[in-house]
């Protein structure tokens, strides 16, 4: 099972997101993350979708997405040749004895955006403290160049 990243340009219609999400659930495609926001094209949004599956599955995902009339373009982002970022908010239980250490760890990372492995590393470092809540944006990505 490989991870595939798709950048999908869509018309910014209400109900569009449910059409995309519904397609994934009814065809049993496995979404790892989905991040959506407005983009440089007027009245359009770009969705970054991370899917897990083999080559024939991602081929079907792309073809089925392409059949949605409000999907304008689908770009498959190659792992090595794209910039990928994710943002995380994390709340930890910080006692007076541990607060300094937590702040120190946070200082190392400064701002909590980065590639998935950086985010994972940060979570690992904080795991010894009691993590109260985690919010992640899901991956956003674009091709280099």
């Amino acid at each position: 099972m490989n991870q595939h990243i798709l950048a999908v340009l869509v018309n910014n219609h209400p109900g569009l997101l449910s059409k995309v999400a519904g397609l994934f659930s009814r065809r049993s495609f496995n979404i790892e993350s989905l991040a959506v926001g407005v983009c440089e094209v007027p009245d359009c949004s770009r969705i970054t979708i991370v899917v897990n599956g083999d080559e024939s599955m991602v081929d079907q995902v792309i073809k089925q997405l392409d059949k949605l009339v409000d999907v304008l373009n689908i770009e498959r982002l190659p792992q090595g040749k794209s910039v990928q970022r994710e943002m995380i908010l994390i709340k930890v239980q910080a006692e007076s004895t541990t607060r300094a250490e937590v702040v120190q760890i946070a200082e190392i990372f400064r701002e909590l955006t980065g590639q998935a492995d950086k985010i994972e590393a940060f979570i690992k470092l904080l795991e010894p403290f009691q993590i109260l809540q985690i919010v992640r944006t899901g991956l956003i990505a674009m091709p280099r160049g």
Binding site: G15, K19, R26, K63, K67, L68, V69
Partner: protein, 551 residues
């Protein structure tokens, strides 16, 4: 010009060449029905919205046009869903128009509110919730374009009541511009050469013709290709009619309920050319195995069908006509005479003779189907329900022309055939339309007898009565140790009295020697007619497949 949203809807429908629609009114679609009152468009009032959707589908298939059905909000709209899903699975062009509660009430769970665009997303090519009357002309134009082009299918337009009533300055829509909707069709010269080379290498090729051949009117080209290169043909259920029943190279329908010769040929072929067929599991249960044994060439207008159910060795995203046109120019194609003789012998060995001369306790369905088709003639249209009746028609009724076999293939919807026959009769009033059903399926849309009566539609209903759900009974007999669970319809009504109540002529037969005379009397009668045929409840459909080890 100032007009209401509803008037614009009517005008847009007229622009699309719509002459007939099927529907059922209700509060939220009343502005539309008020505008319809002044239009020349013929509206056929069905007895349930599902009947309107199925009738529109039957109409589309017989008339070669996009069918239109109309319903109100809430339950009216949800009743359409089975019809929309049935059309989607069989790629039938349909535009469904639904009323919706007023825009300021949407989301408040108001009376007769249902999220029909959300509910139909999985079963429509596209759908719209119209938020401004000014959008209506463009939306309706786009809907017809999307429904009828590429791989056809249903499109739904949900129009809130206030939008129907809104007055606006009408402007004719410009050309359709849908950057997210692509139709790709074409065979490159490299593909054509690779295709020809595959055929040159083959010793035992077959063409598997699907519904795509019917929907793009490619049958005449298929006949030319088949005659020129002498390639045997099998069809899926949706492909029935692609080649005439009596064509010497036609082997029959594939699949678990298909015929032996067709399955035999598929299993022995070294090259399978799939044209406009999506390789559904009912047609090809072991697709991966076939792809290991034979070279597969897949031609389909829908790119998503390529590689979905079978991995082809060569694929072309193309209209069946484009692909067949390319095939006609192939040269140096070898002679497949040995292979043709083999499959023709297999087919000939399985031929059976009709049982018509002897009195019998029950009617033999295959013999009845054979005679129905022979007596009704090649241009008669036959619709089926789903169950044993469908399989008997598919395998034994001699279908000669495309679009004369109308049946729910992909969805397998009981209750489809009766309203679909109405749609077909409305589309082709001068032609004979026969609706074959079982006693279970007939009762699933039996209320549409009312529509048939009102429209004075001279449909010939052929009821195969075995007082049970025959197909499930057969499955339970073969696979569930004859534990017959909920399949008996012992308290069936007297169908003769039902026909009488609707003013239909009617007759009942139970002996094979009555078939010819009864069918002739039915066909000669000028109005609606119900011919009830008592059949043997143990008559199987799976006989060939089970005994002879087809997949």
């Amino acid at each position: 010009m100032k007009m209401t949203g509803a008037q614009a809807m009517i005008q847009a429908l007229e622009h699309e060449g719509v002459t007939t629609v099927f529907g059922y009114p209700g509060a939220a679609i009343c502005p539309f029905y008020d505008a319809l009152f002044d239009s020349k468009i013929r509206h056929i009032l069905t007895r349930n919205e599902q009947g309107a959707a199925h009738a529109a589908s039957g109409y589309a298939r017989a008339a070669r046009k996009t069918g239109v059905c109309i319903a109100t909000s809430g339950p009216g709209a949800t009743n359409l869903i089975t019809g929309i899903a049935t059309a989607y699975m069989d790629s039938i062009p349909l535009v469904a128009i639904t009323g919706q509660v007023a825009t300021d009430l949407i989301g408040s769970d108001s009376f007769q509110e249902a999220d029909i665009t959300g509910a139909t997303s999985p079963f429509t090519k596209h759908n719209y919730l119209v938020k401004s009357a000014a959008d209506l002309p463009r939306v309706i134009k786009e809907a017809f374009y999307i429904a009828s082009t590429g791989r056809p299918g249903p499109v739904l337009i949900d129009v809130p009541m206030d939008i129907q009533a809104d007055c606006f300055e009408y402007q004719a829509p410009g050309p359709v511009s849908l950057p997210g909707y692509h139709i790709r069709s074409g065979v490159t010269s490299a593909q054509a050469e690779a295709f020809a080379e595959q055929l040159r290498q083959a010793k035992a090729p077959i063409i598997c013709a699907g519904g795509g051949i019917i929907s793009c009117e490619a049958s005449p080209l298929l006949v030319q290709v088949v005659n020129k290169f002498q390639i045997p043909v099998v069809t899926t259920m949706m492909g029935i009619g692609a080649l005439p029943f009596d064509h010497p190279l036609y082997l029959g329908t594939l699949g678990s309920h298909g015929v032996f010769a067709a399955n035999y040929a598929l299993n022995k072929a070294d090259l399978v050319i799939l044209i406009g067929a999506r390789v559904g599991n009912r047609a090809m249960g072991a697709a991966a195995e076939i792809a290991r044994r034979a070279q597969i060439i897949h031609i389909d207008i829908d790119p998503a069908e390529i590689g979905k159910n079978i991995k082809p060795h060569l694929a072309m995203v193309a209209d069946a006509r484009d692909a067949l046109q390319v095939m006609l120019d192939f040269d140096n194609i070898p002679d497949f005479a040995d292979w043709v003789t083999t499959v023709q012998d297999i087919k000939a060995k399985r031929a059976y003779t009709t049982r018509l001369d002897q009195p019998s306790a029950t009617i033999h369905p295959p013999s009845l189907m054979r005679r129905l088709g022979e007596l009704a003639g090649p241009d008669a249209i036959v619709t089926t329900e789903v169950g044993q009746n469908q399989i008997w028609v598919a395998n034994h009724y001699p279908i000669v022309m495309p679009r004369t076999f109308i049946s729910s293939g992909g969805m397998g919807t009981m209750g489809y055939g009766l309203p679909a026959s109405l749609g077909a009769k409305v589309a082709c009033p001068e032609r004979t339309v026969i609706a074959v059903s079982g006693d279970g399926s007939l009762q699933m849309s039996i209320q549409e007898f009312g529509t048939v009566k009102q429209e004075k539609a001279a449909i010939k209903f052929v009821l195969l009565n075995n007082n049970r759900l025959g197909m499930v009974h057969e499955i339970q007999s073969l696979r569930y140790s004859q534990r017959y669970s909920q399949v008996f319809l012992e308290e069936n009504p007297d169908f003769q009295l039902i026909a009488e109540a609707y003013g239909f002529a009617h007759a009942k037969i139970s002996s094979n020697d009555q078939i010819d005379q009864a069918v002739q009397a039915m066909l000669a009668y000028p109005g609606p007619y119900l011919l009830e045929c008592q059949i043997d409840p143990h008559e199987p459909t799976l006989f060939t497949a089970k005994k002879e080890g087809a997949q």
